[in-house]
C-alpha cells in the first residue's frame, strides 16, 4: 500500500515536471506549426542556468527568478535568429534545423560548463523529509517541485483565459489559421509563444536541477517523453498536455513496479493505444 501511495506521489510529481516541458512544445507546435527537436536543449539550459546562478545567488529560487527571464530572452533570440525562417516550411526542414541546433547547443554546453556532472544544492530550509514509513521518507523539496509546477500551470491558465495574448493562443489552439484571420500580428505572437516555450522548459530544468543533478545530455530523455505527452494529449492542447503528462507520469511510475521487464516500453505502448483509439490524441482538434 505504501508503495502504491509513493508511486502515485512520484508519478504526479514527475508528470507535473514533464508537463512544463511538454506545454512549451505543444504551444510551439500548435501555434507556430514548428516541430522543435531542440526543446530538450532548453531544459538543459535551465538546469545549467540554475547551476551557475545558484552558485552566485546561493538560492535556487533567486536563480529561478533571474533564470526564467534570461531563458525567455534567449528564446526570443533563437526565434529571431533561426526559428522565424521556418514558418510555413515543411516539417522536414524544421526537423533538420532544430536537429542542427541540438548539435550546436551540446557543443556549447561542453565548452562553457564542461563534461562533469554538477549538483545544485537544495536550500537548507527545504532539506527536510516527510516520514512515510518507519524506514522511508519523502523529500520535502520534491513536494515543492510539484507545487511550483502547479503554480506555473495556474499562471498559464490565467494568461490563457484572461489576457489578450491568451486569447490569441486560444484562437491558435483551435485553429492555426484563425490567428491570421483575426489579424493578429503573428510575428510578435510567435516570438512570444516560442520564448514562453523556452522559458517553460528552462523552468522545468531549473526547478528539477537540485534533485536531478546537472550533466550533459540531460535534456534528451525529456525531449522524447515530451513528444509522447504532446501526442497523447493532442497537439496544441495545453489541457491535453496536462492530462497526458500526468498519465505518462503515473504509467511510468507503475510500469516500473508492476512490469519491470518492460518498464521502458510501457509509455510507448500507452501512446500507441491512445492513438489507435483516437488518432488526434485525447484533446486534439479534429484534423
Amino acid at each position: 500500500m505504501d508503495l502504491v501511495l509513493i508511486q502515485i506521489l512520484n508519478g504526479l510529481q514527475y508528470g507535473l515536471l514533464i508537463f512544463l516541458a511538454a506545454s512549451g512544445l505543444t504551444l510551439v507546435f500548435g501555434i507556430l506549426g514548428i516541430i522543435n527537436l531542440s526543446h530538450g536543449s532548453f531544459y538543459m539550459l535551465g538546469a545549467y542556468l540554475s547551476l551557475t546562478l545558484t552558485s552566485y545567488t546561493g538560492d535556487i529560487f533567486l536563480s529561478l527568478l533571474l533564470g526564467i527571464p534570461l531563458a525567455f530572452a534567449f528564446g526570443m533570440l533563437i526565434e529571431w535568429l533561426f526559428i522565424r525562417h521556418l514558418y510555413g516550411r515543411d516539417h522536414l526542414q524544421q526537423v533538420l534545423l532544430t536537429f542542427a541546433l541540438i548539435l550546436i547547443f551540446n557543443d556549447l554546453q561542453r565548452d562553457i560548463w564542461g563534461p562533469r556532472p554538477h549538483s545544485v544544492p537544495i536550500p537548507s530550509y527545504l532539506a527536510a523529509s516527510v516520514q512515510l514509513s518507519d524506514v522511508l521518507s519523502y523529500p520535502v523539496y520534491r513536494l515543492v517541485v510539484a507545487g511550483f509546477c502547479i503554480f506555473l500551470a495556474l499562471c498559464m491558465v490565467y494568461v490563457i483565459q484572461h489576457t489578450r495574448i491568451g486569447q490569441m493562443i486560444r484562437a491558435g489552439e483551435s485553429n492555426r489559421e484563425m490567428v491570421e484571420v483575426l489579424g493578429i500580428d503573428s510575428r510578435l505572437l510567435f516570438r512570444f509563444v516560442f520564448a514562453a516555450g523556452v522559458a517553460l522548459a528552462a523552468a522545468a530544468g531549473a526547478i528539477a536541477s537540485p534533485i536531478d543533478s546537472v550533466y550533459p545530455g540531460i535534456g534528451e530523455p525529456v525531449l522524447i517523453i515530451s513528444f509522447v505527452v504532446v501526442v497523447i494529449g493532442g497537439i496544441g492542447s495545453i489541457k491535453g498536455a496536462f492530462f497526458g503528462a500526468l498519465l505518462i507520469g503515473l504509467a511510468d511510475a507503475f510500469g516500473k513496479v508492476f512490469l519491470p521487464e518492460f518498464a521502458s516500453v510501457v509509455v510507448y505502448a500507452l501512446m500507441a493505444a491512445v492513438l489507435i483509439a483516437s488518432p488526434g490524441g485525447m484533446f486534439g482538434r479534429a484534423s
Binding site: 522536414l92 526537423v95 522524447i224 497537439i235 510507448y268 488518432p279 488526434g280
Partner: protein, 592 residues
C-alpha cells in the same frame, strides 16, 4: 510527378559510379571501407526517401528497420560458419518488411506530426526491447563471428569477408535499389503514392484505398532499409541496439533533406556529402582545432544548408518545372466510351451532429443523365448532404442507393470505385503535377488495386481516357502544364477532368462556378450540360442564374429538410420555396 532523371543528373550519377569503381584501385583499404559505409547509408536513405519524398510519410523511426535487418544477420548466422548471403539478405528484408507491416498497420492510421512521433516511439520501443532483453546479446550488442558468403550449394561464389568483393557487391546493390525504387515510384503504384504525398484527400475521393497504399510503401521502404541494415552488419560483424535509436533515424533524415527530398538520386548525394563533411570535420589533421568542436561546425553547416538551399543538392541539378514535354495523346470518342450516368436515391436520410440535425429525413431520387441542382440558404445542409452521398460522412440513419445498390456506410473510396466522383469548394487537385499527370492518376482509379507495378497493362486505355477527359473539360491545350500554373477556372476544370478520367458516372460538384467570371461561368455551364450526355451531374451552387440555366431538376434544402424537388419551373412556382428562400429572386424573374 517523378520523371526520369535529366541528362545532367545521369551524368553526375555515372561519374560517381565510375569514381566508386575506381576506389579499390586507387584508394587504400580505408577508402574502400569508408566508401562501403557511404554506399550502405545511401541504400538506407534511398529507402527513407521512398517513404518521405514519394509517399510523404515522414518517419522518424526508419532506423528500426535498419536495425532489424542487421540483427537478422545475427539471427541466421551460425556460430562458427559463414551464413549464405543468398539466404541471409532476403531473410533480413523479410524480417524488416514484416516488422514494417506490423508497425505500419498502426502508424499509418495517423498523419503528419503524429506519424512522426509514432514512428519515433516505435523505434525507441524496439531499441528498449533489444537493449533490455537478452534476445540478441543485450545492451552491449552482439558479434557475427564469420561474415556471410554468397554460395550455391557447396560452391562459394563470393566471399564477403574480402572487403573489395563486398565493396563491389554494395555498389551493385545500390545501383539495383536505385533503379528498382525509381521504377516502382514511376509505376502506377508509385504514381498513386506521389499523389498521396500532395493530396491524400483527392486520392481517396477518386477511389483509392490510401491506407493500403501507404502501408505497402511503408513495407517496401522497411524491407530496403533492412537490406541496408544487413549490409551494415556484414561490414564489421557487429550489431548493437543503438542501431534502432532515434539519432540514427535523425541522421538519415538529415541526409535525405540535404540531398533533396523526393528525387531518389538526391539522397544518395546527401549521404555522400554528409559523410564526407562529418569525416573531414572530425579529422584533426585536416581541420585542426575545429575537430574538437566538430558537432558545432556540423550544426552550423546544416543550418546554412537548410536556409540557403531548401531543395537540397538536387535543387541545383534539377530546375523547378512549369511544364513537362510528353508524347501526344489520342482521345477516345464519346461513342467508343458508351458510358451512361448513374442514378442515386436517398431514403429518409439523416445526419445529426450532437443536437444539431444537419440533414433531416431526406428522401429524393436523382435520375441518370441529368444535371441536378441542390440549392438552399447557408446552413441548409447542402454540403452535409453531398458529404453523405459521397461517403465522406456517415449517415445517422436512412439509406443511399446508387443505381439500386445500397451503398450506405461504405467507405468513401469504395463508393468512389462504384462510379461516384466529387469535387470540392476549394479546388482539390495535385498542384505540382501537370494536368495530364493529374488525370493519369485519376484514370488509374479505374483499376485501383495497389499491386500494379507495371504501367503497360492498361496504358492505352488510360491514356485514351486522359485525353478524352482533358478534351471534354476544355483543357486539351494545357495538357502538360503543371496544375499550379493554371488559372483558377482552369484548375476547377481540371478537377472535373479528373473525375471524368476516373470513370465516375455520377459527378457531385461543390460550387464548381465559385470565384469565376461571367465568361468562365458560361463556358463551364455549357461544359456541364454537355457532360450530362454520359454522366449524372449534381451541383451545389450559389449562382442562381447559372444553376437555373444549367439544371434539369432542383432540390431545395432548408434547415436540413427537403423543401421541394422538381424542374426549375416547378421549384420557382412553389409557394413554400418562395416564402422560405427564393423570395425576391423569384419575383424579379418572369415566371415562364
Amino acid at each position: 510527378m517523378l520523371t526520369r532523371p535529366r541528362p545532367l543528373v545521369l551524368a553526375v550519377l555515372a561519374a560517381l559510379l565510375v569514381a566508386a569503381l575506381l576506389i579499390p584501385h586507387l584508394g587504400g583499404a580505408y577508402a574502400v571501407k569508408f566508401t562501403t559505409r557511404v554506399l550502405v547509408s545511401a541504400i538506407f536513405v534511398l529507402s527513407l526517401d521512398f517513404l518521405i519524398g514519394i509517399t510523404g510519410l515522414v518517419s522518424f523511426g526508419h532506423a528500426m528497420f535498419f536495425g532489424l535487418g542487421a540483427y537478422a544477420l545475427y539471427f541466421v548466422s551460425p556460430e562458427s560458419q559463414a551464413a549464405n548471403a543468398l539466404i541471409a539478405y532476403p531473410a533480413a528484408m523479410v524480417l524488416a518488411g514484416v516488422g514494417a507491416a506490423v508497425i505500419g498497420a498502426v502508424a499509418v492510421l495517423t498523419r503528419g506530426f503524429y506519424f512522426i512521433m509514432v514512428t519515433l516511439a516505435f523505434g525507441q520501443m524496439l531499441f528498449s526491447l533489444f537493449f533490455d532483453t537478452k534476445i540478441a546479446g543485450g545492451s552491449d550488442g552482439a558479434y557475427i563471428y564469420v561474415k556471410p558468403e554468397v554460395a550455391l550449394g557447396s560452391i562459394t561464389l563470393l566471399d564477403l569477408d574480402d572487403r573489395n568483393t563486398f565493396f563491389y557487391v554494395c555498389v551493385a546493390l545500390l545501383v539495383l535499389v536505385y533503379v528498382a525504387l525509381l521504377a516502382l515510384a514511376r509505376a502506377p503504384f508509385g504514381r498513386v503514392l506521389q499523389g498521396i504525398r500532395w493530396n491524400e484527400g483527392r486520392l481517396t475521393a477518386l477511389g483509392f484505398n490510401t491506407y493500403v497504399y501507404k502501408l505497402l510503401s511503408f513495407v517496401v521502404a522497411g524491407a530496403f532499409a533492412g537490406l541496408a541494415g544487413v549490409l551494415y552488419a556484414t561490414i564489421d560483424g557487429y550489431v548493437t541496439p543503438d542501431l534502432f535509436g532515434w539519432r540514427q533515424s535523425g541522421i538519415a533524415i538529415m541526409m535525405v533533406v540535404l540531398g533533396g527530398v523526393g528525387t531518389l538520386f538526391g539522397p544518395i548525394l546527401g549521404a555522400l556529402s554528409f559523410s564526407i563533411v562529418e569525416e573531414v570535420l572530425k579529422t584533426e589533421s585536416l581541420v585542426g582545432p575545429i575537430a574538437a568542436n566538430w558537432s558545432l561546425a556540423l550544426g552550423i553547416l546544416l543550418i546554412a544548408a537548410v536556409l540557403g538551399a531548401p531543395r537540397g543538392i538536387a535543387g541545383w541539378l534539377e530546375p523547378k518545372r512549369a511544364a513537362v514535354a510528353a508524347a501526344a495523346l489520342v482521345a477516345t470518342t464519346r461513342e467508343q466510351r458508351a458510358a451512361k450516368g448513374k442514378a442515386i436515391e436517398t431514403e429518409s436520410l439523416s445526419r445529426a451532429f450532437g443536437g444539431l440535425i444537419a440533414v433531416n429525413d431526406v428522401t429524393v431520387r436523382l435520375a441518370p443523365n441529368r444535371v441536378h441542382g441542390i440549392i438552399g440558404p447557408n446552413g441548409a445542409g447542402k454540403t452535409t448532404f453531398i458529404n453523405l452521398l459521397s461517403g465522406a460522412l456517415r449517415s445517422s440513419s436512412g439509406h443511399i442507393r446508387l443505381d439500386g445498390e445500397d451503398i450506405t456506410g461504405l467507405p468513401q473510396h469504395a463508393i468512389a470505385r462504384r462510379g461516384l466522383g466529387r469535387s470540392y469548394q476549394r479546388t482539390n487537385i495535385i498542384l505540382p503535377f501537370t494536368a495530364r499527370e493529374n488525370c493519369l492518376i485519376a484514370a488509374q482509379a479505374r483499376h485501383p488495386e495497389p499491386m500494379r507495378f507495371s504501367a503497360r497493362r492498361f496504358l492505352k486505355e488510360e491514356q485514351a481516357e486522359v485525353a478524352y477527359a482533358l478534351k471534354a473539360a476544355g483543357l486539351a491545350a494545357r495538357t502538360d502544364t503543371t496544375a499550379a500554373h493554371l488559372s483558377h477556372g482552369e484548375q476547377r476544370q481540371l478537377e472535373i477532368a479528373m473525375l471524368i478520367a476516373s470513370g465516375a458516372r455520377l459527378l457531385i460538384l461543390d460550387e464548381p462556378l465559385g470565384g469565376m467570371g461571367p465568361e468562365e461561368t458560361g463556358r463551364v455551364t455549357a461544359l456541364l450540360r454537355d457532360l450530362s450526355a454520359d454522366h449524372t451531374v449534381i451541383l451545389v451552387e450559389h449562382d442562381m442564374d447559372a444553376i437555373f440555366a444549367a439544371a434539369d431538376t432542383l432540390t431545395v434544402l432548408v434547415e436540413g429538410r427537403l423543401l421541394a424537388h422538381g424542374s426549375p419551373q416547378e421549384v420557382r412556382r412553389d409557394p413554400e420555396v418562395r416564402k422560405a428562400y427564393l423570395g425576391r429572386f423569384a419575383e424579379s424573374e418572369p415566371v415562364a
